[in-house]
C-alpha cells in the first residue's frame, strides 16, 4: 500500500522548478541585503526547522485522535528561508485503508484541492514535508522511508519528516523531531540494493538511515499575546474565555501546573516493555524468513551447479562420441536462483527495537527518580 500511496502523493507534488525560474525573471532586483538569504536554486542547506504554534497544536490534535493501528499522517506546508525551514501550516491526510487505484486517486485529489483551498485564504501552499505520529519513538517504517525518499527527490530542499510521539505527548511532554534521509541511504534506496552487499557498500546501520535536524518552535506575536492574556488572571466576566475558572484560580497566573509527570503509575513502562518484546518477536520472525531464504538460495545454487556438472560430463561423453555438445547456458532458465533477500526490513526492525529500548531505559530512569522522590516525601511525612 505504502509504495503506491507515496507515489500518488509524489505525483501530485507541484513542480518547484518552474515558479522558481519565473521568479528569477520577474523580480530582477533583489535588494543586496536580501540576496544572501534568498536562494532561488535552493542551495542553502536546511539547518533548522521552525514549527509554528498552529502546526504544533494541529499535529498534537491529530495525533491524540488516531488509534495506534494507523499513525496520523499529514503534510506540512511552509517555506524555506536562509537555512531555516519555516513550517506555517499543516493538514492531515485521510486514512486510506485499502490500496486500490480509486482511493489513491481520491487521495491525490484531496491533496490538490486542499492546497487550492489554502491558497485561496492566503495561506502558504508549498509542501515541505510530512508529519507522522508514532509511539515510543519507534518511527522506522518502510512506508515512512519510502515516502520521504520520494519527497527528497521531488520537493525543493528535499523536504523533511516531523515525527511526533503520541505516548510521550499523552504524558504531557510532547516532542517533535525533524528528520531527513542520509545521502548514503538515498543512494542505496535509488539502487534498490538492500542485500548484504548493498548494506556493506553504503555502510548502512539503522542509525545511519536518517539524520536529525534541530527543531525550533515559534509562537507568532499575535498568538503569543493572546496566549499570555489567556494565562494571566483576568477580572471575572461571565462569558469570556479568560475567566474560565481553573485558569483564574491559579495563583501564579499561568496555566495551572500539570503534575502528570509525577504519576507513579508504572503502566506505561509495562506497555513499553511489551512493545519491546513484540519488536523482538517481529525481528525473530524476520530473521527466520531471511535464514529460510538464504537456505533456499544455497539449495538452488547447489542444484544448478550439480546440473552444470552433469551437463559437462554428458557433453564430454558426446564429444568423445562425435556428437555436438548440448548447450550449457540453459541453467539460468531451468533453475531460478532467487535474488538475495532485502535486509532493509530487519535493519528497520532493529532500529525499532533500539528506539523502544531507548525510551524504555529513559522511562526507567525517570521512574527511578520518581520512586525516590515519592519515598522521600513519604519518609518526610512520617
Amino acid at each position: 500500500m505504502a509504495t503506491s500511496m507515496a507515489a500518488t502523493i509524489a505525483a501530485s507534488m507541484p513542480i518547484s522548478q518552474a515558479p522558481a525560474a519565473a521568479a528569477q525573471t520577474t523580480y530582477e532586483t533583489i535588494p543586496p541585503s536580501m540576496s544572501k538569504v534568498i536562494d532561488i536554486e535552493a542551495e542553502i542547506p536546511i539547518t533548522t526547522v521552525q514549527l509554528d504554534a498552529l502546526v504544533v497544536s494541529k499535529i498534537v490534535k491529530h495525533g491524540s485522535e488516531v488509534q495506534n493501528a494507523s499513525p496520523a499522517l499529514g503534510l506540512l506546508i511552509g517555506i524555506d528561508f536562509d537555512g531555516t525551514l519555516e513550517i506555517s501550516n499543516s493538514f492531515p491526510l485521510p486514512n486510506v485503508s485499502d490500496d486500490d487505484e480509486k482511493s489513491n486517486k481520491s487521495l491525490a485529489r484531496y491533496q490538490a484541492s486542499m492546497l487550492r483551498a489554502l491558497k485561496e485564504v492566503q495561506a502558504d501552499d508549498a509542501i515541505v514535508g510530512f508529519y507522522q505520529s508514532n509511539s515510543l519513538g519507534a518511527f522506522f517504517k518502510q512506508s515512512l522511508l519510502e515516502l520521504q525518499a520520494i519527497h527528497q527527490e521531488k520537493i525543493r530542499q528535499g523536504g523533511i519528516v516531523i515525527v511526533h510521539d503520541v505516548i510521550q505527548a499523552s504524558h504531557g511532554n510532547p516532542s517533535f523531531h525533524a528528520f531527513r534521509l542520509t545521502k548514503t541511504f538515498l543512494q542505496a534506496f535509488r539502487a534498490g540494493k538492500f542485500n548484504t552487499q548493498g548494506l556493506v557498500e553504503h555502510n548502512l546501520t539503522f542509525s545511519s538511515i536518517v539524520e536529525e535536524i534541530p527543531v525550533r518552535i515559534r509562537t507568532n506575536p499575535l498568538a503569543g499575546a493572546f496566549l499570555s492574556t489567556l494565562t494571566t488572571p483576568a477580572p471575572i466576566s461571565s462569558s469570556s474565555l479568560s475567566s474560565s475558572s481553573h485558569v483564574t484560580k491559579s495563583s501564579s497566573g499561568t496555566l495551572p501546573p500539570a503534575f502528570s509527570s509525577l504519576d507513579l503509575d508504572a503502566r506505561s513502562l509495562t506497555a513499553n516493555l511489551s512493545s519491546v518484546l513484540d519488536a523482538l518477536d517481529d525481528y525473530k520472525t524476520e530473521e527466520g524468513n531471511l535464514a529460510y531464504l538464504q537456505r533456499q538460495i544455497a539449495r538452488e545454487k547447489l542444484k544448478a551447479e550439480q546440473h552444470i556438472q552433469r551437463r559437462r560430463e554428458e557433453n564430454a561423453l558426446r564429444v568423445s562420441q562425435g556428437l555436438a555438445p548440448l548447450p550449457e547456458d540453459d541453467v539460468s532458465r531451468l533453475f531460478k536462483i532467487p535474488p538475495e533477500p532485502s535486509r532493509l526490513e530487519s535493519t528497520l526492525l532493529l532500529g525499532q527495537i533500539d528506539a523502544y529500548s531507548k525510551s524504555l531505559a529513559h522511562g526507567a530512569s525517570v521512574n527511578l527518580v520518581r520512586t525516590y522522590s515519592a519515598n522521600g516525601g513519604n519518609s518526610a511525612c512520617a
Binding site: 497544536s57 502528570s260 531507548k358 513519604n378
Partner: protein, 298 residues
C-alpha cells in the same frame, strides 16, 4: 444536510429550547480546543488589508447540552457597505475535505474576529443555522486584542430570531458560557508554547527530556510545600489568622499519604525499575551489535 424550513413556529421553538429533537434541553456550554484559537489567529494574520474581520466554519461534536469545537477552517467572505457574501462553494468543498479525515466532526457554527455583532453577522448566522439545522448554530467571536480598547478573549453566542416576522437579518445574539478545554497532550502542547512566552527569544528549541520535566515538577512541589510550611508556621506563631478552609484542605491533602509505598514495596519497585533499565540497555547493545554484524560478510 437538508436545509430546514424556517417557519416562525420553528424559530420560536429554537428560541426557547435548543433543538427540535430534544425540546427540553438547550445548549448550555461551548467548549473550545486550543487548535481552534491558533487557527483563527493564523487566519487573522493572513487576512487581506481590506478585510475588517475574517470568518470561518467551526467543526466539532455536540451533545444535548454542550457543543465541543474541535476544529475550524477559514472561509472566504467579503463585506462592503451594501452587501455581504460568503463563498458557499468554498465552504462546502473544504468541509467535504475535512469530513474525509475527521468524519465525526460536523458543522456546529462559525467564528469571526473582533467583537462586533452587526446585521451582517445576523445574515451569516442565518446561513450557518441552515447548515446546522435542526440544531442551533453557535457563533464564536474572538477578539484579537489588536484593536484599541478591545480586551482579547473569546465569546460564544447562540441566536434567536427577533421581530414579528422573522427575517434573516434580524436576530438576537444570546451569550452562552465558553470554556477552553484540552486533553493531556494538548495541555503539553500548550505548555511548550507558553514556555516561549517567558523566554526572551521569539523561538525556543523544543523537547525537554522527561527527566527535566520531572525535575521541574518536583521543584514546584517542594516550593509549594515551603509556601504551605511558612504559612502554617506563621499561623502557629499567631502572626496571621488561620483560614479554616485552607486548614481543612491541607489536612485532607496530607492525609492522602503514600501509604502503599512502604519500605517493602519501595524496594520491590526499585528492583523492578533497575531490572528494566538493565534490560533496556542490554537490548540496545544487542541491537547495535546485530546491525554491525550484518555488515560483516563471510
Amino acid at each position: 444536510m437538508p436545509i430546514g424550513q424556517t417557519s416562525s413556529a420553528l424559530n420560536l421553538q429554537n428560541l426557547n429550547s435548543g433543538t427540535i429533537s430534544n425540546p427540553t434541553r438547550s445548549i448550555q456550554n461551548v467548549i473550545v480546543h486550543p487548535v481552534v484559537l491558533f487557527n483563527i489567529l493564523d487566519h487573522y494574520l493572513r487576512r487581506k488589508d481590506s478585510q475588517e474581520r475574517v470568518i470561518g466554519t467551526l467543526l466539532g461534536t455536540r451533545t444535548e447540552t454542550e457543543i465541543e469545537v474541535h476544529n475550524c477552517f477559514a472561509v472566504l467572505h467579503s463585506e462592503t457597505t451594501e452587501q455581504v457574501a460568503v463563498d458557499q462553494d468554498y465552504h462546502r468543498t473544504v468541509y467535504d475535505l475535512h469530513h474525509k479525515v475527521h468524519p465525526k466532526e460536523i458543522i456546529v457554527g462559525w467564528y469571526s474576529t473582533g467583537s462586533n455583532l452587526n446585521t451582517y453577522s445576523a445574515l451569516i448566522q442565518y446561513f450557518y443555522s441552515q447548515e446546522t439545522a435542526p440544531h442551533p448554530a453557535v457563533h464564536i467571536t474572538l477578539n484579537t486584542g489588536t484593536e484599541e480598547g478591545g480586551e482579547p478573549g473569546v465569546k460564544a453566542f447562540l441566536s434567536s430570531p427577533v421581530g414579528v416576522y422573522p427575517k434573516p437579518e434580524n436576530c438576537v445574539f444570546v451569550p452562552i458560557p465558553c470554556e477552553l478545554r484540552f486533553n493531556n497532550s494538548e495541555r503539553g502542547g500548550l505548555d511548550i508554547l507558553t514556555k516561549s512566552l517567558s523566554s526572551t527569544s521569539p523561538s525556543i528549541t523544543n523537547a525537554l527530556s522527561d527527566i527535566e520535566v520531572l525535575e521541574r515538577s518536583v521543584q514546584m512541589v517542594s516550593e509549594m510545600l515551603d509556601r504551605v510550611l511558612s504559612y502554617v508556621r506563621s499561623v502557629i506563631a499567631g502572626e496571621i489568622k488561620g483560614d479554616p478552609a485552607i486548614g481543612r484542605y491541607l489536612l485532607e491533602t496530607f492525609a492522602m499519604s503514600t501509604e502503599g509505598l512502604d519500605q517493602g514495596s519501595f524496594a520491590r519497585s526499585l528492583q523492578d525499575t533497575l531490572m528494566i533499565s538493565y534490560l533496556a540497555n542490554l537490548i540496545r547493545s544487542q541491537a547495535e551489535v546485530s546491525t554491525r554484524l550484518q555488515l560483516v560478510t563471510s
